[in-house]
């Protein structure tokens, strides 16, 4: 049998945007929705990794000159879009749903001192799922041991942690889409996107059930 290369053309190649991590893994669903929970992939999100040897003051000043505010406390985040998430001392993720990586790089690059700072476009390597709705803390609580119910009282912040055996950065924030509701963004390695999607969807019904039966478990 001779291989016909032309017969292999994929649907995704004919679309305008590059395929998402889920599409590349062969998953066609775009969102999971129930009364209290919505899970969706944020397509084309830009994630830059800013990693520096400079002091907090130096890098803050440098980024301020580019119009970007950096939090200096680990697990804190600031800004809506782009948002800056401090995930460990000297390392931030710059996240944008609306700016492409070229735009964001263009904005930030002038402040980067190449000898001591790495500004790496991680948009292709990472994928983002967004969880919204009252059951989302319950869903995360099923898969990770952080206090997501308490987290909802603490406002915008972030954490790098293990969730269902994968490493994720969880960002609790208010998205810039006119909604006043806070959401959880999960930012993680694209290679496990289909695993993460399946485990979230499989766990979602019980999370919704818990939300209905037990309530929010929050003292906010």
């Amino acid at each position: 049998m001779t291989l016909k290369i032309s017969s292999l053309k994929t649907d995704v190649m004919t679309t305008h945007h590059p395929p998402t991590a889920l599409e590349q893994a062969g998953i066609v669903e775009e969102a999971y929705e129930s009364e209290t929970l919505r899970i969706r992939q944020v397509p084309g999100a830009t994630v830059l990794r800013l990693h520096t040897l400079q002091s907090d003051e130096e890098i803050q000043q440098a980024m301020a000159s580019c119009g970007l505010e950096l939090p200096t406390q680990v697990n804190h985040s600031c800004g809506q879009d782009p948002a800056a998430l401090c995930i460990r001392p000297g390392e931030w993720l710059l996240f944008s749903e609306f700016l492409d990586s070229a735009r964001l790089l263009q904005q930030v690059q002038p402040g980067v001192e190449r000898a001591s700072t790495a500004l790496i476009d991680a948009s292709d390597g990472l994928t983002t799922f967004r969880l919204s709705g009252a059951a989302s803390p319950w869903l995360l609580s099923k898969l990770s041991c952080l206090d997501f119910h308490g987290a909802t009282a603490a406002g915008q912040h972030c954490a790098r942690t293990a969730l269902a055996k994968i490493t994720v950065v969880i960002h609790y924030h208010q998205p810039r889409n006119g909604s006043s509701a806070y959401v959880f963004d999960l930012i993680f390695d694209r290679s496990v996107a289909s695993y993460c999607w399946r485990v979230l969807c499989a766990s979602a019904p019980h999370a919704a059930e818990m939300c209905g039966a037990a309530g929010p478990l929050s003292n906010s």
Partner: protein
């Protein structure tokens, strides 16, 4: 009245016509040992069996004696049954804990041919031959193996399942300020106070409904029944958004930092509606409040295990909650006051009470008067010495305090009470201390760990008014400690409560020949205890292990205390000096499926997919897990996997192939000291590497052992470190550790960018042609981009990094492009290569190609002992003057031993002789085992290009033994091979110079 309802009523001969908290409008049919029976909604299996006058529920563990229902809770030591059928069969369920549901199938276990006639009873008739520890003494001749099968068939409880579990289980993590173990009056009171103060509270109780004793005792609180008060409290808790109340939830264990695990039971009809069966909670509270109540203890006397002998509290429970009459002619035997409540309750329901046998000489006068006014005889200073009966007790023999016979009484129910032992198991899990209380004859909490309190009956209180005020005070105090202000919650006023236990009389073992059970669940008798003491097992831990008391499924919940009292009595010590064994988690058995949760099947571990996964699927790649889901090869129709690998290997050698190498590690290292850092990390020199060049390197650990290899590339302002795909996270973490802990002076940044870049390798003599066809602005000629060089630019109009390295031994370009474009780019490569008959090849093909070339694969050709010398890189290690990780260890004499296993090739003498990895290498020709192995085959393939089998191996002193003939011992085959250089293909590296 419906026909079904009528039928249920008629079959429930031991059911009172009214009363109880069952729904008589909802009859439920079930079977027990194949016999159709009926009960009502709200029943447990135990209450329904009692209502149907089923006396013998199971057989005992060792002697196969008939056993009935002893308790009304999780402490049940005797009524252990199998529930369900097929894959949902559940062995060793406690009948009082099984909610009755329509169609329930229950069977006795541990008996043959039936529970009514069990052959195993022969062990009872010959019991003198089976004392404690008999198997340690008896089965030595000729050896244990001879007997093991017989003993194992006879022992054990229940039949294990053989089919996969069809149910699914859930997990939840939760944080709270206060976790309350127990939803009885104490727990409810504390939860109300803390919840109303705004603390985040979780309260769990394993009963079907919160309330504990309030659900079956005659109690009046604030002018209503205890049951109504509990329901109202549960409703109020449900209204509080910061409180989670979990009935049907076992508190299984408490671990470091107060991590507490719970097992929540799901809908009993989960099999029908597809919902979860159990949910495993991991709770991380700031404070744990133990309000778990207490467990009534039995009494030790002759034949105290007969059906019809039941805890006094349990008799009350069945009577009040389920309107079940556990017997028509009762004797109450006790050493404390609480059993008198059973007298009062039985009398209220007009059940005949033969007498009360109280071991105490002095009984509270008011209580005595109250009972005697009902016409019930109290025989003080007397104990039950023995019982008579077959399938049910029919007579109790009494003995006075001085050992004289006090006659006998007929009965069909002997309700016993030996005092109450607090449920302090969770405190023991938390490593809290206990002390023996002589008044209550039980162990009470003593030393409390940080963040842990005990209240209510679990702390030794048994007066309901005290319990409520104790719970209220503890909760208010905790609110203050945890940063909340307690709301003014009123303390309930108790106007009627059950009789308290008062002072508990000490009960030494009875003298005599009668068999007295101290542990019903494990069939441990006083004779076993005496034997243990005779043989010197007087330490409580030794005593427990010798007699196995407290080691059955109930973990001694009704037996341990009596066992320790018996041990004290036999060794002339008070029980406090005897001490107690340690309760360890879980409190009750936890289903393995619940612990596992969803961590099985597709969720057992995260499957990682290539960025061009869908295209590989269209190419019919055959997948396997290599840390990532990767195609081994791409079999065509009718091709075997071997055929496909051979075809692909021939295509790469003769033309061109493309390989998806995206998982390869891509760690970017930058900063002023990046070169110095890598020079220390790698055994190979990184300082001399020029920008645009690549170098192969070995990474060692502190012991000089190879942990990874790969190519590192220097670009203008950073290094790109390629690690093996499975090791990238580990190596990145190791680099961080060196930077953060040891070499803090180095200014270096390490970033793992593995998934940012897809990587495709175009390999073969026509590789350059394909790349040119694809289009690139990088000069890829052999002069500009020779072997072991790298360049950045664009390929197919994408940002790209090209590294000219080869793991196949052919001209090869590794092209890194942004991962979003992986699918389209692979498609473009295939189209560009169509004119050159490009062939996609998989990882098994790559392994064959690298074996032909003699390239090392870390993990296959190395193990936890391999050093650079062993794999032929010793000369590089010795040449490097500067320090690097593992250098010092390479100087040890052992690392330079000439007999170390060294990396060589094996040329099988008969080229058609199949050889497999794992075969042992023996010295000389045709040696038969046993023989000392000289090494083993690490990689082996049939080479379609060389048309023979080839192998790589590690052989003792191998590098000095080239040309030597050895025997390969491969399963049942022996064949000769010659030790040769590992490089079978293109030893002059001519292909790489193209």
């Amino acid at each position: 009245m419906s026909q079904a309802n009528s039928s249920a009523k008629s079959s429930n001969k031991a059911r009172l016509p009214e009363g109880g908290r069952i729904d008589r409008e909802q009859p439920i049919d079930f079977t027990f040992n194949g016999k159709p029976l009926s009960g009502f909604a709200g029943d447990t299996l135990a209450s329904a069996l009692l209502a149907n006058e089923v006396d013998v529920v199971g057989r005992s563990f060792k002697y196969h004696r008939p056993r009935g229902i002893f308790s009304a809770g999780e402490e049940e030591p005797t009524a252990l049954v199998e529930i369900g059928e097929g894959a949902r069969r559940q062995p060793t369920c406690r009948a009082p804990m099984v909610p009755l549901r329509q169609g329930l199938v229950a069977n006795s276990q541990h008996c043959w041919p039936s529970v009514d006639f069990d052959i195993g009873r022969a062990f009872d008739f010959s019991h003198v031959f089976w004392p404690a520890g008999f198997y340690n003494k008896t089965f030595k001749w000729p050896n244990w193996k001879t007997w093991e099968g017989l003993v194992r068939r006879s022992a054990g409880m229940g039949r294990p399942l053989t089919e996969p579990d069809p149910d699914h289980y859930e997990h939840v993590n939760a944080h709270c300020d206060l976790f309350i173990c127990g939803g009885g009056p104490t727990g409810l009171m504390a939860a109300l106070v803390a919840g109303q103060a705004g603390l985040r509270v979780i309260v769990a109780d394993q009963a079907e409904a919160l309330g504990g004793v309030l659900n079956y005792e005659h109690i009046q609180i604030d002018g209503r029944t205890g049951h109504d008060w509990a329901r109202q409290a549960a409703r109020e808790l449900k209204e509080l958004p910061n409180v989670i109340a979990l009935p049907r939830t076992l508190v299984a264990g408490n671990y470091d930092h107060n991590v507490t695990t719970l097992l929540q039971r799901g809908d009993p009809d989960h099999a029908v509606n597809g919902s979860w069966r159990e949910c495993y909670w991991t709770v991380r509270p700031r404070h744990v409040l133990l309000a778990a109540g207490a467990i009534e203890q039995g009494l030790i006397f002759g034949n105290n295990d007969r059906p019809g002998i039941m805890l006094a509290g349990a008799a009350r429970h069945y009577l009040n909650r389920y309107a079940v009459v556990p017997g028509k002619n009762a004797i109450i035997a006790t050493n404390n006051d609480s059993a008198y409540q059973t007298v009062l309750d039985l009398h209220r329901k007009n059940i005949r009470i033969s007498c009360v046998v109280d071991a105490r000489e002095v009984i509270d006068a008011q209580l005595r008067q109250r009972v005697e006014d009902l016409g019930v005889e109290i025989i003080a200073g007397t104990r039950v010495s023995d019982t008579r009966g077959g399938r049910k007790i029919r007579e109790a023999r009494l003995v006075s305090g001085d050992g004289q016979s006090a006659g006998s009484r007929a009965c069909d129910l002997l309700a016993v009470s030996g005092g109450w032992a607090p449920r302090i198991h969770l405190l023991c899990h938390a490593r809290g201390g206990l002390k023996f209380d002589t008044r209550a004859q039980c162990f009470l909490p003593d030393r409390l760990p940080s963040g842990f309190s005990v209240i209510g009956a679990a702390a030794g209180h048994n007066d309901l008014t005290t319990i409520f005020s104790d719970a209220h005070a503890a909760a208010v105090q905790l609110c203050w400690e945890l940063g909340a202000k307690a709301a003014p919650t009123p303390i309930p006023v108790v106007t009627h409560s059950p009789v308290e236990s008062g002072r508990v009389h000490e009960m030494p073992l009875l003298q005599g020949k009668q068999r007295q059970w101290i542990d019903l669940a494990h069939d441990v008798t006083s004779a076993d205890a005496e034997l243990a003491v005779r043989e010197g097992f007087v330490s409580v831990e030794h005593f427990k292990r010798y007699t196995t008391t407290g080691m059955s499924v109930d973990q001694g919940k009704t037996g341990n205390l009596n066992a320790f009292i018996a041990l004290g009595s036999l060794t002339d010590r008070d029980t406090g000096s005897v001490g107690t064994t340690t309760f360890r988690p879980p409190y009750m058995p936890v289903t393995l499926g619940a612990i596992s949760g969803r961590s099985h099947g597709e969720f057992y571990f995260p499957h990682r997919y290539l960025p061009a996964h869908t295209l590989h699927e269209k190419l019919k790649g055959r997948y396997d897990d290599y840390g990532w889901q990767r195609p081994e090869c791409y079999p065509r129709e009718g091709e075997s996997e071997d055929d496909a690998v051979h075809r692909e290997a021939r295509a790469v050698r003769a033309g061109v192939g493309v390989f998806d190498n995206s998982p390869i590690g891509k760690i970017e290292v930058r900063g002023p000291n990046a070169a110095e850092f890598l020079n220390r990390i790698y055994m190979n020199n990184a300082l001399t590497l020029k920008p645009g060049s690549a170098r192969y390197g070995l990474m060692l650990n502190d012991n000089g052992i190879i942990i990874d290899d790969g190519v590192f590339v220097r670009f203008d302002d950073f290094f790109l470190v390629h690690t093996t795909s499975a090791a990238v996270e580990r190596i990145a973490a190791m680099m961080e550790e060196w930077l953060q802990c040891e070499w803090t002076d180095l200014k270096v940044l390490v970033d793992d960018t593995t998934t940012q870049w897809a990587n495709f390798t175009i390999a073969g003599p026509r590789a350059r042609d394909v790349l040119n066809e694809l289009g690139t602005d990088i000069d890829i000629s052999a002069d500009s981009l020779p072997h072991m060089s790298a360049a950045q630019g664009s390929v197919w109009n994408l940002d790209a990094r090209i590294v000219r390295v080869s793991f196949s031994g052919e001209l090869s370009f590794e092209i890194n492009i942004p991962a979003d474009n992986a699918t389209a780019f692979l498609q473009a490569i295939l189209e560009a290569g169509e004119a050159f008959c490009i062939t996609p090849y998989g990882i098994e093909t790559l392994m064959l190609l690298r074996t032909e070339k003699g390239y090392l694969h870390v993990g296959s050709d190395t193990d936890g002992t391999s050093t650079p010398d062993d794999v032929g890189w010793g000369h590089v290690a010795r040449r490097k003057a500067t320090d690097y990780v593992g250098k010092r260890s390479l100087l040890r004499s052992g690392a330079r031993d000439a007999d170390r296993k060294q990396f060589v090739g094996l040329a099988v003498i008969n080229p058609k002789q199949p050889v497999q990895a794992g075969g042992h290498v023996l010295l000389g020709s045709y040696r038969e085992p046993p023989a000392t192995t000289e090494g083993w085959v690490t990689s082996a393939y049939y080479s379609p290009n060389l048309e023979r089998y080839i192998a790589l191996a590690v052989v003792s002193g191998g590098s000095d033994r080239l040309g030597e003939i050895v025997t390969v011992c491969d399963a049942d085959q022996r064949f000769n091979a010659k030790i040769v250089s590992p490089v079978f293909y293109d030893p002059e590296n001519l292909k790489l110079k193209d």
